[in-house]
Amino acid sequence: MASQTLYDKLWAQHLVTQRDDGSALIYIDRHLLHEVTSPQAFEGLRLAGRKPWRRDANLATPDHNVPTTLKERSAGNAGILDDVSRIQVETLDANCESFDIEEFRINDERQGIVHVVGPEQGATLPGMTVVCGDSHTATHGAFAALSHGIGTSEVEHVLATQCLIAQKMKNMQVRVEGKLGLGVTAKDIVLAIIGRIGTAGGTGYAIEFAGSAIRELSMEGRMTICNMAIEAGARVGLVAVDDTTIDYLKGRPYAPSAEQWPAAVEAWRDLVSDEGAHFDKVVELDAAEIEPQVTWGTSPEMVANVSAAVPDPASAGDETVTQGMTRALEYMGLSAGQKITDIRLDKVFIGSCTNSRIEDLREAAKVARGRKVADNIQLAMVVPGSGLVKRLAEAEGLDKVFIEAGFEWREPGCSMCLAMNADKLGAGERCASTSNRNFEGRQGYGGRTHLVSPAMAAAAAIEGHFVDVRSYDYDRADAMSA
C-alpha cells in the first residue's frame, strides 16, 4: 500500500461511504457538546421526532456561559445572574436529560472547558474522530484523533446519524526542528507558525505538526498547538502517537480497560505518517529561532517577537493588508514603531482551551511566585480549565502562589476568552491573554487583546507591561520539565 499520512489513515478508517460527487460519509466516535451551539440541534431532533443514534458517543458540559466567581458558582445554575445565559445552561441540562446524554453539570468537579475535559477524562483517544460545535475542537488532534469543529446543523446531523458529510482535506506538514529556548513555549511555536502562514494559510488543509520540537512537548503543549490550528485556517491539527500520548492516557476514566489496553496501544502505534508519505504543503521552522510571541493586532497573524516593535502598515506591500493593519492599530490604540515591551496593560487573563491546563498554570505560577501584580493592573485572573485541573493546582499550592501575588483564582470555564459570562474587558481596556483570538470585541466591546503564553502573561501582570520572559528571573528549567 502506498505511504499514507496520519490524516489519510484516520480518514480511511472512518469512511462509511464515498459518494461519486466527491463527498463522503464519515463515522464519528466522540461528540462533545456544550450549551451554546447545541440547543437548536436538540430542537431540530425533537421537531423531527429523532433520537440520538448512539448515546455513549456523546459527552456534554456547560462552559461558555458559566460564572467563574465562587460566590456565583456555589449557587449552581441559579448563580448565573444573566437570565439568557442561565436559560442556555438549563436548556443543555434539560436536553441531556431528555435525550439521555452524559453531562458534567456546572458544579460537577469534572466540569470544565469541553476541550480540557475530553482529554482529561480519556474521552479523547488516538484513532477517534472527535467533533464538537466549537472550532477549537482541533485541540484533540494532539492525540492523533481526527478532530474538528462543526456547526449546529452538523451537531444535529451527528446526533441523528453518528456521521458527518465531509470532504477530504489536503495534507500539510509543519515541521519544527531543534530545541526551544528556555522560556519559549508551545504557545510561542503556534503563534510563530500563524505569523508565518497567516490566518488563511491552512484553509482546506489538515495540518500535522511534526519535528523534534513537537515530539519533545508534553500533551498539554501539543494540545495548545493543535488548538490554534484553526487560527491558521486549518480545521484539523494533528500530532502523531508516541509514548507521551500513551503515557498520558493510561488510567484515565474513559480510557480503554486493562484488558483492552494492549490491543488499543498496538493499534495506536500505527497512527503516524508513513515514511515518504506525501504532503501537499510543507512548512519548516527552526525552534531555536522562535522568540516569545505577542500579538499586536486584531487577527492572530498580527504577531511579533517580544523583542520587536509594532510594524508599519505601509511596509505590507498589499493594499488590503495595509488597510487591515491600519484599522487594527487604530482599534488597538498602538502606533507603528512602538516597542512591544513598552505596551502597558490593564488586565491579564490566564485561561481558555488554549492555556488552562495544569502545565500552563505551573508555568505561570513559576513566574508569579514571590512577586506582586503591578499597580496598573486592575485585574489579573487565573481560570483553570476544569474542576480537576483546579483541584490538582490547589494540591500543588499554585492557587496560593497566585493569590499571594495578587491574582484572582477562579472557577473553571471559558471565561474571558470570549466573554460570554460576566468576565469581560471594558472599552479601551488592554489585556495580556493566554487565549486564542484577538478579534475586535472578542473579550468585550472595545476591548484590546494581546495573545501570549502563560509565562509571558504572568510576567506582564507583574511588570505592568510586556517583558521578555527569557530575561526574567524565574525557575525556567523546572517549568519546562513539568
Binding site: 460527487d21 463527498s23 463515522y27 436559560i87 483517544l125 460545535g133 444535529e156 446519524t161 484553526i230 470585541g441
Partner: protein, 214 residues
Amino acid sequence: MKKFERLQGLVAPLDRANVDTDLIIPKQFLKSIKRTGFGPNLFDELRYLDEGYPGQDAASRPLNPDFVLNQPRYRDAQVLLARRNFGCGSSREHAPWALDDFGFRVVIAPSFADIFYNNSFKNGILLITLDEATVDRLFQETEASEGYRLDIDLEGQQVITPSGEAIPFEVDAFRKHCLLEGLDDIGLTLEQAGAIRDYESRHRAANPWLFRDA
C-alpha cells in the same frame, strides 16, 4: 432547507479582509436558544454606535452612518460582496443565521473559512469564490452604480453582471444538488442507515474500546 435556484440580487460591498465570525455576530447574541432573530445584530459592532445586548430594541439604537449596510442604497441587499478569508474564526452557525435573517442569500469573496463555508450551505446560503481581480472589479462596479444587481445562476454556475458578462464559478456537486433541491442532509444520510450500521459493527469489532456501552 430553503431552495436556491436563481436570484437577481442587489449587491452590497463590505470592503474588509478577514471578516471573522465575532464581527458577523458578536458573542452576546449566541446566548439565544433559537435559530432566528439574529438579523438586527448582524455586524452589530460595525452597524451601531453603542454596545449591543440581547433583547434590545434595534430601532432605537444609534446607527453608524459610515457602515455600508446603513446606507439606504444597500438596505435591501441580498448579495454580499466581501474580501478574502471571509467567515474566519469560530464555528458559530449564528453567523449564517444572521446573514440569512438580514436577507443575504449569496456571499461572493476571493476565499472563505472552511467551517463558515459548510455552515452557510447548510442554511441555503450560496457562497461563491471568485479570483481577487474579479472581486475587485465587482467592488468597483457595485460602488460606481447605485442599484447594482447581479444575476446569480446556480444551475448554470455563473454570475451575470448587468452588462451581460457571465462569470463562471465552481461549486461542488453535492452542495449544489442540496441547495437546488432544498434537501435535508439528515434525511439523506438516514437513507444509508444500513451502511452506517454495517460500518459500525466492523468498527466496534476492530476497536472495542471506542464503545463504552459494549
